[in-house]
Amino acid sequence: MASREADDASLPQSDCYVGPTHVYYNLGPRVFWFFSPVPISKDDVERVAHLARIGIDSTEIDAYTADLDRILDLVEQMNEISTQGIEPLAHPQDMQLRLREDTVTESDQRTLFQSIAPQTDQGHYLVPKVIE
């Protein structure tokens, strides 16, 4: 715990992002998401479910809240470990982005792709209107 507080104190405020369930810190030069759990509420669960467009039954919210709390407890255990002097990672594999030459190799396959679309018209995919 002590080591985490020491890390916290050295963080500039601007490199902190308050998410729905956590406060995230950037420990650049590489990004590392440093979790600082705040107690999760039923509202948080509903909010996250809405943002992710996941339909959940209202009777199950308490169970999800408890589950997510347990996951965050696990993260909290990891937070106990001092990470000072360890270079943060943005990707679990030690590899770099491969670059592609700027050439067009895709051809038009609209008919094929639209054969699985529920509704199309004049080449457009049709969806329920989002703006009235």
Partner: protein, 478 residues
């Protein structure tokens, strides 16, 4: 009114002019039939993976170098999560922490005042598709041709203090990206799109007021109008004892006002996280070298050089360097004009600028080439044609009727400069108009214009007017 200080920051989406998309080898051509340039990657079909376009990276580096920013040797792509029908993946690949370019600045002048607008960052991201809300009855149509088009989002500090300054910044940035050949700059096609953050505060206050964000602005003129409207609105709210709500507002060009977006549309909690599909982008010496080699002479340097090398005025030089094509045209034409820079500048700033403006077209749309304009200047300078004939020749060049020499030959426009021929004509005119000659000798020298006019009439405008003047004076002053 003057007790309020205006604070403006801008975010510009610069569409990079690559052949293929940022994460898929699909064409980016504008105006193709709906969804004919939307591949499996762009549609987010299962199992696809993004692979980044090297050229988009090089163009972003070029921009960073040109604005004096820091090129991040190690940058990261993140997922920006939100749901909208024209974003098939449910997230936009963007950069959040560690963008490819940080810092740098854009410099320009408004009148005699120098401005230096600091940039926060410039990051790479993919564009979304387009929604069509009014053509399919109770449904919306989705065209994903634009999905995945590379964008460079350029974000400033809140450094601008007036709508005019914001517009000047945009024009400077627009010129720069066209110079760098990283963007076609076409505003109508959405290649250069602007969002503005604006707030007001009492003069002397150092903390920022609550800002609103204006979206949906697609011309320089609208940026100024939208900001003017929004600033007046904010001042009215505050002076009537109200408070500004932090919100996103849409500019309505037809009504000339701004209105808030519905809260549902702006409910953003993007939950950024590093995209597991894309490992870090490492920029090594090879990419830096490639970008440096692609970097042209920048507008500021070129403007200064036009003054020192060609002896142009600052105003002329600014006009000629505001567009890279125009500046290239000028330099080629000067070579063709045997080095007469001021002659070329006069034509480009006069007849040519007027014609381009009149027909609302750009250089690439007109048949006139630097070689043609240069030849025209040479023909004037060596006395083959007069200034007045040159205008006729210019119009013919503009119509695409051939080279300057061809037009001169075809229309028999060669100027009569030969002293013997002119002498005979002048003597004939003096004989016909003895009273005017007497008037001149009595001190009414203005009548010379009439006499020269008679010569021009007899020669169908082909006589060299300077020479004719000289000959008359020799006869009459003597």
């Amino acid at each position: 009114m003057n007790e309020w200080e205006i604070v403006i920051g801008l975010e510009v989406h610069v569409q990079l002019n690559t052949k293929s998309k940022i994460f898929s080898p699909t064409a980016t051509t504008y105006g193709a039939p709906a969804n004919t340039q939307a591949s499996a990657v762009d549609l987010a079909l299962p199992g696809v993976l993004p692979v980044i376009n090297r050229e988009a990276v090089v163009k972003a580096i070029c921009f960073g170098m040109a604005v004096g920013g820091t090129i991040e040797p190690h940058s990261i792509f993140a997922r920006k999560n939100y749901f909208y029908p024209d974003l098939p993946k449910g997230y936009q690949i963007s950069q959040f922490e560690l963008p490819i370019v940080s810092g740098g600045s854009i410099r320009f002048e408004v009148g005699d005042t120098h401005h230096d607008i600091r940039l926060v960052r410039a990051h790479l991201e993919e564009d979304a598709g387009k929604s069509v809300h009014d053509a399919f009855g109770r449904l919306s149509g989705i065209d994903l041709n634009r999905a995945g088009t590379p964008l460079l989002e350029v974000v400033t500090e809140p450094d601008m203090r007036s709508p005019a300054e914001a517009v000047a910044y945009l024009r400077t940035l627009h010129t720069l990206v066209r110079y760098l050949d990283i963007c076609d700059g076409n505003l109508q096609e959405g290649s250069f799109r602007c969002d503005a953050n604006v707030s007001i505060r009492p003069h002397g206050q150092t903390t920022l007021g609550t800002r609103t964000e204006l979206k949906n602005i697609n011309s320089f003129r609208f940026v100024e109008q939208a900001l003017d409207y929004e600033i007046d609105r904010q001042i009215a709210v505050v002076e009537n004892g109200g408070a500004i709500a932090q919100e996103t507002r849409l500019y309505d060009a037809d009504q000339g006002n701004t209105r808030p977006m519905r809260s549902k549309e702006e409910a953003h909690d993007y939950r950024y996280f590093p995209d597991p599909d894309l490992p870090p982008l490492l920029i090594g010496d090879d990419l830096l070298e490639e970008a440096r080699a692609a970097l042209p002479e920048l507008p500021d340097n070129r403007q200064a050089r036009f003054v020192s090398e060609y002896g142009l005025t600052v105003a002329e030089s600014r006009q000629l360097t505001r567009d890279r094509d125009l500046a290239d045209f000028f330099e080629s034409a000067v070579v063709a004009a045997a080095g007469d820079a001021s002659g070329v500048a006069n034509w480009m700033g006069g007849e040519m600028a007027a014609a381009l403006n009149r027909e609302q077209c750009s250089l690439e749309d007109v048949p006139i080439t630097p070689a043609m304009l240069g030849e025209l200047v040479v023909l004037i300078n060596n006395g083959t044609i007069s200034g007045r004939m040159a205008k006729t020749v210019f119009d013919a060049l503009w119509q695409g009727n051939g080279s300057a020499q061809e037009i001169v030959d075809l229309r028999g426009l060669t100027q009569i400069s030969d002293a013997d021929s002119l002498e005979k004509i002048v003597q004939a005119v003096l004989k016909q108009c003895p009273s005017q000659a007497a008037q001149y000798q009595a001190g009414e020298t203005k009548v010379l214009g009439f006499l020269v006019g008679q010569v021009m009439k007899m020669t169908e405008g082909k006589a060299n007017p300077q020479k004719v003047n000289e000959i008359f004076k020799r006869h009459l002053d003597g």
